[in-house]
């Protein structure tokens, strides 16, 4: 059974259809990528799954339970963790304290939360910087802090929104390794990603959105051969 099933999900904004009848599944233990040109509705789709937006129609099934329209905090407790495209760590707090906010989702005591947070930080390689104010982190470190905070909530499914955007090749390489390790430890990952090299390196399953509709769904090989996908990407390049 799939960990996450999205069924005919739609969302309208003032008459505009941002996401239209999108359906796909994410298998337990997999890394699935959601790709598509800018404005394809990827982030909206994420927000619908994570509860930040309510769908106009359609259903979100997580671990066999209909979780459509539940608020983000309830989804977090059910095991959906997420990062945000624009990273905004809490600048006044230290790296460790940032991660602890996530850990408190399941821990009520300070010491326990700190242990969980440290473990999450170590999984993304941020443990040496635990005592630093988050404001002093470099961009790649901030992105990893977002991942660590999400991990500290002990998710079964991790939603990653463009963690690679704005990073240099070397920095992206380290993050790819960290994400592989996280996945190997049993966390299912659904990621929005623009950097195709990263998508190809990580994902075994790709869902392609265009103008809010799903135009392809399959393995990387299938998707890259798909004429509709090629057209949509070339179309975007042509316009730009």
């Amino acid at each position: 059974m799939s960990l996450l099933a999205v069924e005919a999900l739609s969302r309208n904004f003032a008459g505009l259809r941002a996401v239209s009848e999108v359906s796909f599944c994410v298998e337990e233990g997999s890394i699935t990528a959601l790709i598509g040109p800018n404005g394809a509705g990827k982030t909206t789709c994420f927000n619908l799954i994570a509860g930040a937006l309510k769908p106009s129609s359609g259903r979100v099934i997580f671990a066999g339970e209909d979780v459509t329209g539940l608020p983000p905090e309830a989804l977090c407790l059910r095991g959906i963790g997420r990062t945000f495209q624009i990273v905004r760590p809490m600048p006044e707090l230290t790296v460790l304290e940032n991660a602890m906010v996530g850990a408190f989702a399941r821990e009520s005591r300070l010491a326990a939360a700190e242990a969980v947070a440290r473990e999450a930080l170590s999984r993304v390689g941020l443990l040496p910087k635990a005592g630093m104010p988050a404001a002093q982190l470099t961009l790649p470190d901030r992105k990893m802090l977002e991942v660590a905070r999400a991990l500290a909530t002990r998710p079964r499914l991790l939603l990653l929104d463009e963690v690679m955007a704005g990073l240099r090749a070397g920095e992206a390489g380290a993050i790819v390794e960290s994400l592989r390790a996280v996945n190997a430890a049993g966390v299912t990952i659904l990621m929005i990603e623009h950097v195709m090299r990263v998508v190809m390196a990580l994902a075994r399953h790709i869902v392609v959105l265009h103008h809010g509709e799903k135009i392809a769904d399959g393995t990387p090989e299938e998707v890259t051969r798909d004429p509709a996908v090629i057209r949509s990407y070339l179309g975007e390049r042509g316009a730009a």
């Binding site: 608020p71 983000p72 407790l77 945000f84």
Partner: protein, 320 residues
């Protein structure tokens, strides 16, 4: 956490020696400073930690004060019962305002105006309510001879010095405990980024209501003691815009969202206030204190946006 606890103990221990060396005038001045440090600490829990801007905290001072005073004078209920009741009532009010506001997605500036509207509404109603004396005010009777402060919770400067110091110490301990607890982390997460907080499993509405209830309840208790100290209550001075703004100055000057900010701010602002008042009287210039207050806050916002507290802490630690 431990460093903070030691600091609270040192702070309160040192100030507890005050009556040995200070005269009645200075004691009542410091009692007032403690009162505003306490109000500031309560307001800071909402604003500094949860990022909920309340510009109508006078509501809780007023309701707390009137509750204690009316219970005492009209119904003969001891402040020992009146103060907790005032706290509960104001906690409920705070929770109700936070719930209505955030339940209906009234955020940021809107929430601030909601708090102000509630306070002003209460002030106007109290000014027209004969039962509490209206604009004419509500007065506590003179203290009987042989008054036992610990029984009546009323007394001279020394009593209120200790009473407000005790209340302030409790507020510092509470703030410290919250700062290092799940609730503190969650409140700070909401302040920094509500969406990220919700995605991290923080029940935002519940936390906001909790923060407002705690803050309102504390302010209500403080307001009750404040009324006992003043001996008289007027809607305008107990819950007008002026007092709502005045209690924000200490935590802003001292440092928003810090444990000691409100206390440091109040101890810094009080002499400034008193000096400028003297100056205003000597020179016959009315309003000089308001001007100096404004300039002080302006300078802090411009040059020390984190408040003077963090700078003081750095000095104490011997670092630059």
């Amino acid at each position: 956490m431990r460093r903070g606890a030691i600091a609270v103990a040192a702070f309160s221990g040192l100030l507890a020696l005050g009556p040995l060396v200070l005269d009645g005038y200075l004691l009542s001045l410091l009692a007032l400073a403690f009162a505003f440090a306490f109000f500031g600490a309560a307001w800071n829990l909402m604003m500094g930690f949860a990022g909920m801007l309340s510009i109508g905290h006078g509501l809780y001072i007023g309701i707390g004060g009137y509750t204690v005073a009316v219970l005492l004078v009209t119904f003969g209920v001891s402040p020992w019962a009146g103060l907790p009741l005032a706290g509960l009532l104001c906690a409920g009010l705070g929770a109700a305002i936070a719930w209505t506001g955030f339940r209906f997605a009234v955020r940021g500036v809107y929430f601030a105006l909601l708090t102000l509207a509630a306070a002003e509404l209460a002030r106007i109603l109290f000014e027209h309510w004969p039962f509490v004396g209206g604009t004419g005010g509500f007065f506590l009777p003179a203290l009987p001879p042989g008054n036992v402060p610990l029984l009546t919770l009323r007394g001279g400067p020394e009593f209120f010095y200790f009473a407000f110091l005790l209340l302030l110490t409790a507020a510092l301990v509470l703030t410290l405990a919250i700062r290092h607890s799940r609730m503190g982390y969650r409140l700070m997460a909401i302040r920094e980024d509500e969406d990220a907080a919700r995605a991290s499993g923080v029940p935002v509405l519940r936390m906001r209501i909790a923060a407002a209830a705690l803050s309102g309840g504390m302010t209500g208790i403080g307001g009750g003691l404040f009324a006992l100290m003043n001996g008289s209550l007027f809607p305008n001075t107990m819950m007008g815009v002026a007092i709502s703004i005045e209690i924000m100055i200490a935590p802003i000057v001292g440092g928003l969202g810090t444990v000691f900010g409100p206390a440091i701010g109040a101890l810094f602002v009080m002499p400034v206030h008193e000096l400028s008042e003297h100056l205003a009287q000597e020179a016959g210039v009315f309003g000089l204190n308001t001007l100096i207050y404004g300039l002080l806050v302006l300078l802090v916002v411009l040059f020390l946006p984190a408040g003077i507290g963090p700078s003081v802490a750095r000095l104490l630690r011997g670092r630059r």
